[in-house]
Symmetry: D2
Subunit: 383 residues, 4 copies
């Protein structure tokens, strides 16, 4: 009976690993341990912990570790705080595996705590390429992990080229796509009225064309966020479609983006927009299936967007070199260029589903692998 410990630090973390959690919890030879930390505990990021509990997972511990400031310095300090506390919890829980998710800054706290404590470490979504500090975090996590669960073939190949043993690398697909597949099978024709009772701003008619905007800070372009998001908002206004706008995540620079959105909103009160902190994954995916265009720099445009076939305009450097399908148009931070790209998407034919990030069974594969893989705790680079 292997104990598998998962640390959830944000909404993105959760939906990136939930299907694996379900499969682990169901697996007869595995026991799931959940720790909820950082922004996943916070009201202003949508209280992800409530979702986790509603989904039937019982957190073994909750660790408040996010230091306010949303600067690069507090991002580092928050990671440090997690690294101070997680070993205490790991010593309580004594997991046989820690499964760490992706490339968020708190990921390093989980990664280092497990690796330093000689607990076998598995890592999802390694080997991908992106902008921001996430790029370094992801590859560093690979260098600590004993078992790798890349989402696509390019990522798998990159992990092996970095010196990991091929027998430790399991191509499983992205667990987020598992959720997407499930949601798309449901019949959801009644989104509107309930939806716009949440958040603030106008109610939109979802049967008519609308744009989605989801733009997050780029940590290596700290201080630029307000200007960047303003260009996107202006471009959407230029195109003239109503917009569903999402507040940014908790990375360094988040406050800049939020300020840009707030100011734009005060200045353009009659432009039809609705603002959400966060939405349940299922509703978000339904919106992606309906929207005329998803604008910004969310990874959902590239990953889920490929599977769903969502027309997307990807702004700036945040998704650079991430493997992508035909549904994405890439563009810089200029208002006019963004506007043109949106209009281009409005003209195109619908996209077909493109399962480059998985076929909907990643979670099952992860659970099966964790139940019987063998681990060499002393890592060695292969060359």
């Amino acid at each position: 009976m292997r104990k598998i410990c998962i640390v959830i630090g944000s909404r993105a973390n959760y939906s990136s690993i939930k299907s694996a959690m379900v499969s682990i919890q169901k697996h007869p030879d595995l026991q799931l341990q959940v720790i909820v930390v950082a922004s996943a505990l916070l009201d202003r990021y949508g209280s992800v912990v409530d979702l986790v509990e509603k989904d039937g997972f019982v957190p073994a511990a909750k660790v408040y570790m996010l230091i306010e400031g949303e600067t690069p310095a507090t991002m580092a300090k928050s990671t440090g705080l997690g690294l101070v506390e997680l070993p205490t919890i790991f010593e309580q829980l004594r997991p046989d595996f820690v499964l760490t998710v992706g490339d968020r800054f708190e990921t390093m706290a989980t990664t280092l705590a497990a690796a330093y404590m000689n607990i076998p470490l598995a890592h999802t979504m390694g080997g991908e390429v992106s902008g921001t500090i996430d790029e370094s975090i992801r590859h560093a996590a690979t260098k600590f992990a004993h078992v790798h669960f890349p989402a696509c073939t390019e990522a798998r190949d990159r992990i092996i080229r970095m010196g990991e043993r091929p027998e430790d690398v399991y191509l499983v697909g992205c667990p987020r796509i598992d959720l997407v597949a499930e949601i798309l099978q449901q019949d959801r024709t009644d989104l509107g009225p309930h939806l716009f009772a949440e958040g603030v701003g106008e109610s939109l008619d979802l049967d008519r064309p609308f744009v989605m905007i989801s733009q997050h800070p780029v940590t290596t372009e700290y201080g630029e966020g307000e200007r960047q998001v303003t260009a996107t908002l202006q471009a959407v206004q230029d195109v003239g479609l109503p917009a569903v706008v999402f507040w940014p995540n908790a990375d360094a620079g988040s406050e800049d983006i939020a300020r840009g959105i707030r100011k734009f909103r005060e200045r353009h009160k009659d432009f039809p927009m609705h603002f959400f902190k966060n939405l349940p994954m299922d509703i978000y995916i339904c919106l992606m299936a309906k929207t005329s265009c998803l604008v910004g720099n969310s990874s959902s445009a590239v990953r889920e967007g490929a599977y769903i076939g969502t027309p997307a305009v990807n702004v700036g450097s945040r998704q650079y070199m991430r493997q992508r399908g035909r549904n994405v148009i890439d563009i810089g931070y200029e208002r006019d260029a963004i506007g043109d790209a949106i209009r281009e998407q409005l003209r195109r034919e619908p996209y077909e589903s493109d399962p480059i990030y998985g076929d909907g069974h990643a979670g099952e594969r992860i659970a099966a692998t964790l139940s019987d893989c063998e681990v060499r705790i002393q890592k060695r680079i292969t060359y």
Copy 2:
């Protein structure tokens, strides 16, 4: 005028970077900032901070960050504590570069703090291969660093294979060898009397054959340290030469090794041994130039030993795959095999100097590079 910040966390850290510190301090276009942390502040690891100050460096801050316990968990927590505090200091000092050293566990605190804060990060001694968690730490530091200073050609090639840009990799040699070269030029014929007033145990006659023992915990073999060091001590006793014995470093498992040494000492009071916590680098190198054989798992046997030509018996997995010269015999943890290897070294001819880890000018090259290199703060893997 670039400000170069260096964090010294241990005695090993200090001697691995001291020659670069001297060159940076002398360089007209560079300003040196020194932070002393962790075991480098502690009496029981030889108060390295006093040495640093005596050498003319003025610490801008001192951060106590070592959490007692010497378990894998406290190693993780200590790193976390450093990562909580270093950003505060970096915001005070606003360095243009942080130069991080090697692969000790505290190295990750410096590495993450700088990288998350978008401060250009340079890393020495990357690309090498070893046992213990240091292996993962070193390669992870490579994935965060913007500028690399490997010590030997194999290490350089490995860094590039891991996906770093060749133009960011500077082969400079190991700065420790700079110190070794300098020390060997001095005339030191008078070591004995003063030397054995320090430490505890018998005074040895250094003009007669003697063995040196330096054995540290292997973090991935936690709990084995007492048994491991006892085999080494017994083997030396079997050979019958007097021994200079060093206490272990502060890694997880250190207490096990220390207990093994203490018990052996109580049981064999008439076996001629002398015990040191630490020695000034210059005296240590002189001993390496004089000893009949250096036994244990210290990296000094491989690195400095190659340059000096010290006969060495390397025990166990700690130095696995580290590039080495002819002076080293590798062996497992068995008492008899260790004894045989020591006797084999006693029979051989003297070794010639083998400069695979540098020619004595690494520090100057590091300073020169830091004064004029260009950095891309947004890293990208090259494939």
Copy 3:
């Protein structure tokens, strides 16, 4: 030349000690050291650090230490984080005195760091009585402090009764009143237009009657904040005067109060209100000199209100037993009773100034005392 170190952790901290900072900086035998921490660094609490710098003080360090969550647990953890970091800074600055302010939760971090490190500790505003955990914090700070600066006679007597030596207790008045006295001497007839460009909500006509609302969480009544503030807002709406509303401070429960305000605002969009995060002290005091009634549980109603003569309705337990003048009517959390109390204040004659909390020279007395007082570092209770 004594070095006096002051740690600013919030807006309230700053205005409670600013006049002493000015006097210390001017004093020929004193040198001022300023550390800015916690909510004083944060945008969403009004970036007090910018004010501090604009006022000519140069922070020697900035310590991000507020852990997000605004629960009782994060209040404790934030204090712990401060206590981890402040000793590092104190060792850099080596102050001869640390001057700690009042009774906020971060105050304990400053207090313990100084006391444990044997740095003489002076404490302002001790000996007062209030609700919330501040009550215990204040008296505990008294038990650590070597020099006491109470603001009023009752407080002085209480400090001595708690076992402090009378010769260590200096009645100086409250330094906040120094600022108030200074502001009231200025001619400020032009508040309106610029003022309401800040914050959000309607522009009010300050020449017509208006109410001020300032209500903070009561940490020992955690979870009640939304209900409590809603009763106050409804009562003000019942009375029918327009209102200037302040967002709550960063104590545990702050998010509850903020939610109550946000919901009320969404539901009563046509009720004339204007919302501020924070105002410069001088503008706040001018509003207090103009308002028909200050409602809520801010200590300003009791302290500055006495000196200014502001009609005030004090709601709930937060100011319980604080020495107060005739200007205050105390009331519970019931909507109707609050409304009646406000109407009662509207009917009364103007209040005269009542200097029970000082005569405007507290800061000078503090500086003078710190320059020549003698301290016994080993404290002893007097009975």
Copy 4:
């Protein structure tokens, strides 16, 4: 069923609360929760955690929180680290009461975590008077505690004079005396042979006169420890009785005392001494019942010594103003005066038992009180 949480931070902590733990665990309406932290987890302080587990208590969490350095700064930082971590554990355990012990520096971490989190806090051994920073810590803990368990009448009266409500103050005696009473009822005539197999140094004949030495650092006299303990050791050597010597506790300055002892030992190898890190409480008490004189500044001389009737010479300021019986002679740090005081004790008649610190039933009273007392979570000073 009330959950009572106790945090054990040191050997002294444990023996000061063990009898209450036993009574709480037996009580039908109470559930015991134990957290082991700080030096109680460490090998070099005798692994108190092993004792705790052997005694049948199952720790719910273990928190490594002692930052190495043993300076005043690390004492503060360690407390901060505890205050960062304990809230996480308290949120897991959700105790109805936290019971905090005495006046050690980590005590403040427990005290603040519970008080800030609105968990009712009970405090043992408040109201006493001593030297060092413990004095302030103890009284500050009183100002946070909701229920007080003083050990003697003077302490009870002092707590009430400090402004605590008499109905919250329960005179119960000292729980350490419960253990002493129990131990003295056992027949222990066979101490010697097994005893001196532990520790290092000579075996002493316990049927002949011998001295015990237990001297700890005085935190407000930091840097003096080596000189202080040397005077004591020399005085004992002057008197000429063999000595049982105890290593100091983990307070700031401990390393100074330890160095003094080590140097004395190296210089006087033929003086009959035996050294212990720690001894099981029962053996320590038996030694106190046998020794000719207990010298140093341990509180055991005053508290247990009174009950047992141990002749004691109390050196320096550490036990100043602590209520004491006839068995204690107080003296300064001078070698000759200490020697004279020891000789004076050797001449006196045996002392009778003096139960000023309790009758052996403190633990039962604490458990009974915790099971039915009522608590006002909002504290108010009584005057």
